[in-house]
Symmetry: none
Amino acid sequence: MRAGARVCQSRSETWGSRVPENTEKAESEPKADTRPRRRQARGERRIAQLLEAAASVFCSSGYTAASTNAIAREAGVSPGTLYQFFPNKEAIAIELGDRLMHEMRETYGEALGPVDPATPLEEAVEAAVDRFIDFNCRHPVFFALMHGPDIPGRMAEAHEALHTTLLERIQTRLASVLPDVPAADLARITEVCLGLYMAGLELVLTHEGAEREAYVRELKNVLVRYLAPLAAPPA
Amino acid sequence: MRAGARVCQSRSETWGSRVPENTEKAESEPKADTRPRRRQARGERRIAQLLEAAASVFCSSGYTAASTNAIAREAGVSPGTLYQFFPNKEAIAIELGDRLMHEMRETYGEALGPVDPATPLEEAVEAAVDRFIDFNCRHPVFFALMHGPDIPGRMAEAHEALHTTLLERIQTRLASVLPDVPAADLARITEVCLGLYMAGLELVLTHEGAEREAYVRELKNVLVRYLAPLAAPPA
Amino acid sequence: MRAGARVCQSRSETWGSRVPENTEKAESEPKADTRPRRRQARGERRIAQLLEAAASVFCSSGYTAASTNAIAREAGVSPGTLYQFFPNKEAIAIELGDRLMHEMRETYGEALGPVDPATPLEEAVEAAVDRFIDFNCRHPVFFALMHGPDIPGRMAEAHEALHTTLLERIQTRLASVLPDVPAADLARITEVCLGLYMAGLELVLTHEGAEREAYVRELKNVLVRYLAPLAAPPA
Amino acid sequence: MRAGARVCQSRSETWGSRVPENTEKAESEPKADTRPRRRQARGERRIAQLLEAAASVFCSSGYTAASTNAIAREAGVSPGTLYQFFPNKEAIAIELGDRLMHEMRETYGEALGPVDPATPLEEAVEAAVDRFIDFNCRHPVFFALMHGPDIPGRMAEAHEALHTTLLERIQTRLASVLPDVPAADLARITEVCLGLYMAGLELVLTHEGAEREAYVRELKNVLVRYLAPLAAPPA
DNA sequence: GATGAATGAGGATTCATTCAT
DNA sequence: TATGAATGAATCCTCATTCAT
């Protein structure tokens, strides 16, 4: 139940009649198998299957061009089945994004790097970029979903959700590194950092080997140099 | 031989066997313009019309989602007419990109800012960003065309053309500002700068008034801080 | 995997990743037929409907000029439905041809006439032509499909398939009637016979009543006279 | 003038305002150059150009699939120009057919072979087939035009015209070879012969070298054997 | 839950033909 | 005459989505 329901509840109201309360408990997934949720297990698998397929299709065709039929085909199920779990393409993307953020949090913890506020900026950026890149290499669909909107300002819901979540996390992290920056500026700086991250990511992903390393280096340079003056004590 | 002709001749060889004699003379543009042009005035206007319509549609739907039918409709012509001038959507985007770059060059000259090599970095960046932003506000379709590929590495031809042209121009400009950077690095730095530009542009375009100004400021900061260490004499 | 499935599986690999486990068993048709069939009854009917419609359209417009939309319309379904079963016009023609050959075999047996090698040539030809004509009158679409290519040598796949199958059958038949003809010649003679058949068929189909009978007579004459010298014992 | 006008007058009434009277004199073409018909010469050339282009396009795409735009393009003129000389595709085919028959007559005389009624059948067929094949190799468009109708009985006008003319010529020829056959039968036999010719022609055109020769041989065999019993004196 | 059939509007593109210049 | 622009219906095919089973 949970996952299937979660999918629909998280963003769309179409599937309202689902137990929304046990979401917290659902988080402790590892033991979920024990409860008498036989048929749900199947649904869970289906959803995973579909999301995997969607990730694959989004990566190979881009989000806009991806078709629900293609996703169903890739997942080896019928279109009808797909729509049993997701009301539309957008919902798939949203759930995919949710899970990505979930995994990011699971893997790297709340922050994208060492939480010790004493960590020097350079080190913090280094860690964050490395993790970010690493994460993207393992989940290339992240790029497809994050990929800026075709039209400035008009983001798909899925994109927006991811974007917002990421901003929050980055802002939290930045707040600890740039304690002296006023809130209004911090939000803007956060947006800028995310933009730089994404721009750098694209360059990194389109290169390989030594070149890729070099671009990772540049991305770190960009961020460090941009943030250093903001972090540095006026001393 | 102006643009109208350029469209058809530069991309399609369909009418290759036409007016074979004056081809040589046609190369010396001044005269060639007169003869087989007369009727093209109408076509010329249509092409402009179509490109304008395309710009509008690309802006409001994004390149991927834009349809040739929509463009024709927006231009107030039948689908067939569109195809008399452009073999497909891509060709429209390419021509649009060509004209944009043409205008950029016309308006701002070869470089995006003061050519004097003695210009301090800060000032050069300031000028370049201001022009770039200004240009984009007057031609919002530029963003739609430049907007990174849906799939990393898989760019549309049109995008690629624009991208390449811009890189060249930026690299030229950077070369004069960063004379000591080795060529291999310069190319990478150029890519990075373009990425930063585009990332900043998106943020600028999605904000207005004071916020927009603030983002412009940040973009300049990013670039200046990134480039400063590369430009600074080791002294 | 009845016909419906046959259509999709035999030509398109689109649904390849489906039911992977019972593939082995599916080969032993008896059981495979039962399970995933239920809902396909509808599809089965649709396919028959579509093929019937296609036959009708091919007959009235010719294969080349027939449009998939026209076929769908004739079948009373939407274009999308047609494409659920056939990837394109060609596939429809191919399936139609397959079924025609299937029926021909079912109805007249492997040979187009008496198999007894002692049957005199005249009698064999008589039987073969009668059956061939009869078959074509009951399935006029056969002509539309068999109708030679618009461009010599450039046959549509569907045509080619039919053609090849027919050649095989005729050659087998001829081999028993002309035991002394070398293989290389036999192939050529087979091609010629099929050509004569088709030429005669066209004439037969464009006439009626007594005239038609007369043309049937002529076709038999042509074949008998052509083949007689090849069959006659040198004695 | 002549040709241009002829084109339109012969089948369509659309272009009525042309001097139809000089058609007879126009037949004596060789001297036509002398009259003060300057501008007509241009039209003549255009027509030849267009017909040549049409022949080429018909051959490479087949009559049905050929488009007037493609013909105009191949001829290096605009679509409008094509329609200045021919009211539609059909008219082009008809004129092309007319000229083919004209040339056939010019080249081989009224009959397709020796006119001497004493010529033995075998020799007459031999000559006729050789000429027919030869003609078709030099004018491959003939096949495209003659190529049986997509739908039995529903011939295009152009096809029909060619067909009829050919039948007449063949019947004339046959009449001299088969003097004892009643008229009703002769018409049918003529149709059959043309059918055999065409069937053989297709086989010949789709093979090359020795194989082609072998098929020519077979075609002759078919015709000779078919006709021999009709020609032979019962003695 | 699962299936696959069904939809029909919309996508890109072509074509025979007409018209203004 | 000749051009090339214009048309709009028709082509094939796809897609997100719904529905009966």
